[in-house]
């Protein structure tokens, strides 16, 4: 079967991108600069990401607010108009259907952006639980999405806009024409840097991309592939659905309790999450670092082991994401471990392809951007 293409597919080829199959999409994993240079461009200047493979939908109607409130762990429904909210969609078990951002336009109109690999599942989930009470319109194909991230991103997009988008607070959005293309401009991202995500009609994606790239290149900016997108999000400890989040782990276990608002609310999964919160967690997602001098990298799927003689279990957890640090030294990663191993400073043992490697649990982001 032919891979799916975003509206920017030809642009990526012209830029010399290496394209790979990413969940059925033919996507740029890196451009000619390579992952490390792309990663640094985002940390030091600005990077452009084609994330048009992600899914988008509108929920509209009198019942939209109520439907959204039933589905989201976070208080999306009660947010002010013009606010974007990160939330989880949970199963009744508390397992995560997806993590996504809802954009509240009004009480009867919400926009949502979901993970590409989950688009079909999420749309079905939204429709099932909307039950006809509100209209769920899938606009994934008609919508292109470009992320502009990095310390120079905000001023750059502001210069290209007809609206002073630099004044948008974090997690706010507005409509603006950027490079002559009307977009939904949101002060959000997935890199740990400041910046925007711009949603525009698919047929205008090339015009928007060209305007952005034309402004970015003289600033030291680059187009960024999925490989650097992953290293950037990992250094900022942002979870990736399918690795760090899935149907079998709850947001509380994933350390996303801040996006779970249980007080005086009932939503899908709220009962299970209340029970789990009261009973205490059996496992927690932690960040770990491996010092550079150990010359080791722990990757997705590597077991976390307990070599204490007489230990109850030899394998106590699993690495869900991991790789070399680029803006931080050594290697970094995320792993699910029992709470007794989750305290900052705890030294974990990770079986890296037959070699035991010590890794230290750290709290907070691996990379913090200079203020």
């Amino acid at each position: 079967m032919d891979r799916l293409r975003t509206p920017l597919h030809d642009v990526h080829r012209q830029l010399g991108a290496r394209l790979i199959d990413f969940g059925g999409w033919d996507m740029p994993v890196q451009y000619t600069a390579g992952t490390i240079k792309e990663h640094r461009a985002v940390r030091e200047a600005v990077g452009l990401f084609d994330v048009s493979h992600m899914g988008e939908a509108y929920l509209r109607g009198d019942a939209a607010r109520r439907v959204v409130d039933t589905l989201c762990t976070n208080n999306v429904a009660g947010a002010p108009n013009g606010k974007a909210v990160y939330t989880l969609l949970c199963r009744p078990t508390g397992g995560v259907v997806d993590d996504c951002i809802f954009y509240k336009r009004t009480d009867d109109e919400f926009f949502v952006i979901v993970n590409a690999s989950n688009t079909a599942k999420d749309l079905a989930w939204l429709r099932t639980h909307a039950g006809g009470a509100c209209n769920v319109e899938d606009v994934s194909e008609a919508t292109a999405l470009i992320a502009v991230q990095g310390p120079k991103a905000v001023a750059m997009v502001d210069t290209l806009s007809d609206t002073r988008v630099a004044q948008l607070p974090s997690f706010a959005f507005t409509e603006a024409a950027v490079g002559g293309v009307t977009c939904l401009v949101a002060r959000t991202g997935y890199t740990g840097e400041d910046g925007f995500e711009l949603a525009c009609p698919a047929h205008l994606a090339v015009q928007l991309w060209d305007a952005l790239l034309g402004a970015a290149l003289p600033l030291g900016g680059l187009p960024i592939g999925l490989s650097a997108r992953n290293t950037l999000r990992l250094e900022s400890k942002l979870p990736l659905y399918g690795n760090d989040l899935d149907d079998d782990h709850t947001p509380l276990e994933a350390g996303l309790g801040w996006a779970v608002k249980l007080d005086n609310r009932e939503f899908l999964g709220s009962d299970a999450l209340r029970v789990q919160k009261a009973a205490g967690l059996q496992r927690q997602l932690v960040g770990f670092t491996i010092p550079a001098e150990l010359r080791a990298v722990a990757r997705h799927g590597y077991p976390v082991v307990d070599r204490t003689p007489g230990a109850e279990h030899a394998v106590i957890g699993t690495v869900t994401s991991g790789g070399p640090g680029i803006s931080v030294s050594g290697a970094v990663g995320l792993a699910y471990v029992p709470p007794t191993f989750a305290k900052a400073g705890t030294v974990l043992t990770i079986d890296c392809r037959g070699k035991d490697v010590p890794a230290t649990v750290v709290s907070g982001k691996f990379y913090k951007r200079p203020q």
């Binding site: 290496r18 890196q30 390579g34 490390i36 992953n230 010359r295 990298v297 990757r299 790789g323 392809r353």
Partner: protein
Amino acid sequence: MTYPTDLRYTSDHEWLRAQGTSWRVGITQFAVDQLGDITLVDLPKEGDLVTKGQRFGTIESVKSVSDLYAPVSGKVVAVNAALKNTPEQVNTAPYAGGWMIDLEPTEASEIEELLTPDAYIKHVAAQ
């Protein structure tokens, strides 16, 4: 992509260059392009013996880890120590500064079995 004609190759995307009694070993441009930015190269020690088809080292790139397999059996007579601090040389100069080890083969027939440049190019085209 470039595949020098004075080299021999393996189907695992390694190259070998004759230099006196030893053979220099590295990985090809095709392998480098597949791996992306290389961050760590772990190599054996000088004097180690390696067996054809067995793991002799490891390459970590940003996105994956791969084993290096001995193209022929033999003794490691030199190791590119520079890769410890500058693994990116494998990306920038896979056939020069990015070399990995020098091997003194113990079985001459194994050298004969290596792919010619033409055979390797056909192998890559079929990937």
